[in-house]
Amino acid sequence: MPGKTLPDAEQLLAALTEQMRASVGPDSGLIGIHTGGVWLAERLHAALGIAAPCGSLDVSFYRDDYEKIGLHRNVKSSSIPFDVEGRHLVLVDDVLYTGRTIRAAMNELFDYGRPASIRLAALVDRGGRELPIAAQFVGAVVELAPGQSIELTRESRGRLALVLHESDC
């Protein structure tokens, strides 16, 4: 199935961690977007020594395609175990594509309070943005055809890997 070689997710995560180390202080709040973003945020949280526990968001209740495709089947609970008000936040996602998930995540975050700032960390930026959204921290830029998608997977021992999917449409 994979027609091209994808970068190694663990190496990208290491690069992402180094980019963030200089400017993401221990007082920041780290929030992963379900599901891949939560795995990444947990790893970044440990590596960067962030004080507050890791947050997680499931943006299903804020998606702009609800009218078209309905509610997602497997909605997870969002959990922000720290005060958002006045805090510098970093949203973490595995693949940055149209930007619509990030738009939904920001809308949801503001229902918890008014953060001092929000930055975005993405393991892979695959282009194709439909909204004026950019990531401040990026593991790698990967060119993909519109019918292709990448998914982050996690093995039982916790090792992360990228998988390429081809759709026929």
């Binding site: 209740f61 804020y62 309905g70 509610l71 909605v75 969002s78 959990s79 229902d111 918890y112």
Partner: protein
């Protein structure tokens, strides 16, 4: 909109289009509702208790029979989904002027309704409405006659799962006026679908439906035997109009034999929980010391009811 003739709640893809009864719904839809409600519990604990899913939608609460708790929790649920809510207590408006149910619904549909939440004293009224509304309108049964009260059954399941985690090892007793209870029917169907291995009903012969055992339940007429070693006690409301009818000698006598007191509850497991759909008749079906006691989860039921109704509305409106 094509709806399954055998189960007119489901659309072509087997998804929920209306919620009319729990009977006949596949377990996966019940689990989906319970899991989605779990996520909404988190929303209702936030600073801003609203999500934008139903923004711009109009939800009509159509109550042909009085209700405070159910109507209010549907209203809160719809508002937390950002819908506009219109409450209609129809027993005191057009029905007294002679308008039929379908004319009422047709008029409200002309006001761009997206969803009807219906309570009616006649069993089957929500089905009638669901058959006649436009294909993009969703209908939720908020209690019809003696037939069904699916969101109450679902919030009871949510409450049981919250405290007991699994249904697979549970013994559950449903106590009181099963004969007239739409809640009991919804509970029995939900428990059976979710895999509860032992469902008991306890009540006097005059208040149990004949052949109730055909629903797969065990029948008891004695509280101490029926409650022995159960994990969950689900009390039913004894409706005032029954207390003076020929089915019961008196409310006092009912309390003596079937009222849940601490002494009778002692037959259940020590960690058993007690549910009641409300409104309670203290000193008739339940003693105050139990209703307000450590094993009572009656107020959490009300809170969970909002999350369940948010889940049902958001799943329906998206299908």
């Amino acid at each position: 909109m094509w709806l399954n003739p055998a189960n007119p709640q489901l659309n072509r893809n087997g998804e929920l289009h209306h919620l009319l009864t729990i009977e006949g719904l596949p377990a996966e839809i019940l689990w989906q509702i319970l899991d989605t409600a779990q996520s909404f519990v988190g929303v209702t604990q936030r600073e801003v208790k609203k999500v934008p899913l139903l923004r711009g939608k109009a939800v009509f609460n159509l109550f042909f029979e009085p209700s405070t708790r159910t109507r209010t929790t549907f209203e809160i649920a719809a508002k937390r989904l950002s819908a506009d809510v219109i409450n209609l207590a129809i027993n005191i408006s057009s029905q007294t002027k002679g308008e039929t149910v379908l004319d009422t619904v047709a008029n409200l549909s002309a006001m761009q309704a997206d969803m009807f939440v219906v309570r009616h004293a006649a069993s089957g009224a929500p089905y009638l409405i669901a058959r006649h509304v436009a294909p993009d309108i969703h209908v939720i049964n908020a209690g019809d006659g003696r037939h069904a009260h699916p969101t109450q059954g679902l919030l009871d399941m949510f409450t049981i799962r919250h405290y007991k985690k699994e249904f697979s090892g549970l013994r559950v007793a449903i106590v009181g006026d099963v004969l007239h209870s739409r809640v009991a029917r919804s509970q029995i169907h939900a428990l059976a679908t979710l895999g509860c291995p032992e469902i008991r009903v306890i009540g006097p012969k005059t208040l149990l439906p004949s052949h109730v055992e055909n629903l797969g339940v065990h029948v008891y007429h004695d509280m101490r035997q029926g409650l022995k070693d159960v994990d969950v006690v689900m009390m039913l409301r004894l409706q005032n109009e029954r207390m003076e009818g020929p089915l019961l000698p008196s409310a006092q006598e009912f309390y003596k034999y079937y009222g849940l007191t601490e002494e009778k509850l002692a037959a259940a497991r020590p960690d058993a929980i007690v549910l009641h759909p409300g409104p309670m008749n203290r000193g008739v079906e339940i003693d105050s010391s139990v209703a307000d006691g450590a094993q009572s989860v009656i107020l959490p039921q009300v809170t969970f009811g909002i999350a369940i109704r948010m889940a049902v509305m958001s799943i329906l409106a998206g299908n």
